[in-house]
Amino acid sequence: MQSLSNRAKKLEAKPMTLAERAYLPAIFQGLSITMRHFFRAATKKQVTVRYPEEKRPFSPIFRGLHVLKRDEVGRERCTACGLCAVACPAEAITMVAGERKKGEENLYREEKYAVSYEVNMLRCIFCGLCEEACPKAAVYLQPDKMAPPRFERDEFIYGKDRLVEPVDPSARSIRGIQLTPEQADALAQRMAQ
């Protein structure tokens, strides 16, 4: 049949030469290739990342474990408006709202706050829509932390104890970036006022 493009290449299988039929030269060629790889793996540094001891650097836009931020003076930003839970396509976020009592002004920034705030890390798809939905800049996905493996399913439901960032400013970070000592000091001074 005439081919349409006329570019078809005619191939013919040549009979194998004696060296090819004897197998052995080709086998030795193959053996030398694998031996080269053997010495490369034995001497040079391997590309394998030995995970728990050695970690790959995260991408700067990586979306990892959630954090509930505090404001400049250490109050919780979240007002339990529920927009994050509505935005969540995986329905991973649940919360219970409560009213701030007198004397708690240094704990919660608004009059309403989240009594409980839970993220189910098994449901979460780490899409970051909660982050975009939040009007108070309270919830963020950290670019440097992952939900570690656990043995029990319950342990993947993260409550406020594990989500809210610590009060101690030196242990805090902005968008996952650790504060410099100067920034931490400034934050601590403002909180003391």
Binding site: T34, H37, F38, A41, Q46, V47
Partner: protein, 360 residues
């Protein structure tokens, strides 16, 4: 009449040989993984212990704690017998291998060998051919078509390649004139002519023997009895727990024995270059007794033989992670139309060279 001390010594040696075979087989599983990993630019097991050296222990614990599974309709007695036979036959053939020359204490001379028989090579061949029963019985008793296919392949493959292997061996026997492995080893150690290993006289025979050894131990590129991609796991598809472990173990013991036999037949066994010069140097220059110098040479020879064996085991693994598997018809064609005629040609060639007085 065998004297009692000799009998005691023999039983000790046999126990040690069994232990060493098992230990080597154990660490072959580790070595296989590390070598496979390195050949493929990976790391290999490095979690259990330093460099993953305790990995075989972890494997053993895993295998022992797995469920003992018997497939419905399987013949239970034969199902258990299969792996046992495979293991027993694999271990038995190591008894006649001369691991070292004699060691002498006073008037007592000890052979570093399990049993010295004048039909050593026939013994190895007989036991190796029995080895296929373990595979056949296990595959048949599983009541599974994949197992049966694997077993049939194992049977036909072993029969086909044993022929060429035996004929390659005949050429060696024509040179040596004996079936005793110790005799064959000693003949390769003519004083001052260390290079007179059989590989020099039998290069073609060695290649045939090597290819057949790969087929007999069911190693890649001739691992059609297992053939994960076609037959699930071949003859041990239905096996679990330590029965499975015994099959895998038997394969490594077979590799060890095949390496030892090749070292003995073609690479001078426990002989190493300049051994007599070294012994004479110890006697003449260092003032040692002849006996202790000879003992030292024997121990060095033992280590040398193990060096050769490990080199062969490495080669087995190197080939496994380099070559793809043969197709079944290619396997049969290679065995019957290439290796057997080549082996016959090798016999004729050797006969001609002996007649011409070129080799003896």
């Amino acid at each position: 009449m065998i004297e009692l001390p000799t009998l005691g010594w023999q039983s000790i040696v046999i126990l040690v040989v069994f232990g060493v075979s098992l230990l080597i087989a154990t660490y072959c599983t580790y070595a296989e993984r590390v070598i496979a990993a390195f050949l493929q630019d990976r790391v290999g097991p490095d979690r259990a212990g330093p460099f993953g050296l305790l990995q075989p222990l972890a494997d053993a614990v895993k295998l022992f704690t797995k469920e003992e599974f018997f497939p419905a309709g399987a013949n239970k007695a034969l199902f258990i017998m299969g792996p046992c036979l495979a293991m027993i036959t694999a271990l038995m053939s190591s008894a006649v291998i001369p691991f070292g020359n004699v060691i002498q204490f006073g008037n007592n001379v000890f052979n570093l060998q399990g049993i010295e028989v004048n039909i050593g090579m026939l013994w190895v061949f007989g036991i190796v051919s029995l080895g296929v029963y373990g595979v056949m019985i296990g595959g048949w008793a599983s009541n599974n078509k994949f197992s049966l296919l694997g077993a049939i392949r194992a049977g036909s493959q072993n029969i086909s390649y044993e022929l060429a292997m035996g004929m390659a061996l005949i050429a060696v026997l024509m040179i040596s004139g004996t079936l005793s492995l110790r005799e064959i080893t000693l003949q390769q150690s003519v004083a001052g002519e260390w290079h007179f290993w059989n590989i020099v006289k039998q290069p073609l025979g060695f290649i045939i023997f090597l290819v057949c050894a790969f087929a007999e131990t069911n190693r890649t590129p001739f691992d059609l009895p297992e053939c994960e991609t076609e037959l699930v796991g071949g003859y041990h598809t239905e096996y679990s727990s330590m029965k499975m472990g015994l099959y895998l173990f038997a394969e490594y013991v077979n590799v060890f024995v095949a390496s030892a036999v090749m070292s003995v037949l073609y690479f001078g066994g426990f002989n190493f270059p300049f051994q007599y010069e070294l012994r004479d140097w110890f006697v003449n220059s260092q003032g040692w007794e002849l006996m202790s110098a000879q003992n030292l040479i024997s121990v060095l020879g033992l280590l040398g033989l193990f060096g050769k064996i490990f080199a062969f085991i490495f080669f087995f693994m190197w080939v496994r992670w380099t070559l793809p598997r043969f197709r079944y018809d290619q396997l049969m064609r290679l065995g019957w139309t290439i290796l057997i005629p080549l082996a016959i040609f090798n016999i004729l060639l050797t006969g001609g060279l002996i007649l011409g007085g070129i080799i003896k």
